[in-house]
Symmetry: C2
Subunit: 120 residues, 2 copies
Amino acid sequence: MRKENSTNALNAQELYETCGMAIALRILGGRWKPGIIWNLAQGRIRYGQLKALIPNISERMLIQQLKELEKYGFVERFVFPEVPPRVEYALTEEGKTLIPIVQALAAWGDSQRDKIKLPV
Amino acid sequence: MRKENSTNALNAQELYETCGMAIALRILGGRWKPGIIWNLAQGRIRYGQLKALIPNISERMLIQQLKELEKYGFVERFVFPEVPPRVEYALTEEGKTLIPIVQALAAWGDSQRDKIKLPV
DNA sequence: TTAATTACTAACAAACAAGTAAGAAATGAG
DNA sequence: CTCATTTCTTACTTGTTTGTTAGTAATTAA
């Protein structure tokens, strides 16, 4: 749960208002969103497949991040009234504008892999 | 202090190995690094000025993030043997490769500002 | 009737990131 | 002698993110 008036939250809020990069990192950041967006960039996909494509992600995290991306309109959810349930996810048009960003970040990161060693 | 064997840390580690974007976000992510890099992109600058340019940042956070960027070779530190001390910071050549990324992220984020409303 | 399937939820705990506050060091100015 | 200056450091607290476990629904197949 987020505390609306913590210094922490206020600092975050102010950054969103003045800094586009803070907004971008809010959408793109976190441990799992990159992988989610990357895989959705390949096309519409079922929840279970997405989970299989992202090693180690827990259902809680996957759902949570998908919901957040959906809430902001970057991801669309398609539900089929079947049993067992079938739900597919896809990037919206707006979500697809993320793809070049994600590619640029990934390329830069890959170029750094051999130069730096991240801590354990 | 980071626990080397927490699932959390292991997940992070695995991502670094397989996903360039995770590396990039490790360098670029967090609340303050964007602003630090953005300001350093304008040129060499003193610690105190940098602090003044980044509203609300605490000394602890500024130092901590600068040290991390320095450790990975994206930022250089120039110390003048004076009293009171004078220390200047600048992006290294490697650090300058971040500039286009940072600009792309900022531009995308700015383009989203009116479309989405981030939570408090 | 019992188990298997699939997408999801809720309660809780561990790990991590960020914020607060106090102070150190070395010198020059008063 | 005391104070201001500037760049940091340390110990501590609060807040946020991530992980774990158990469980739901509604049908079909055995």
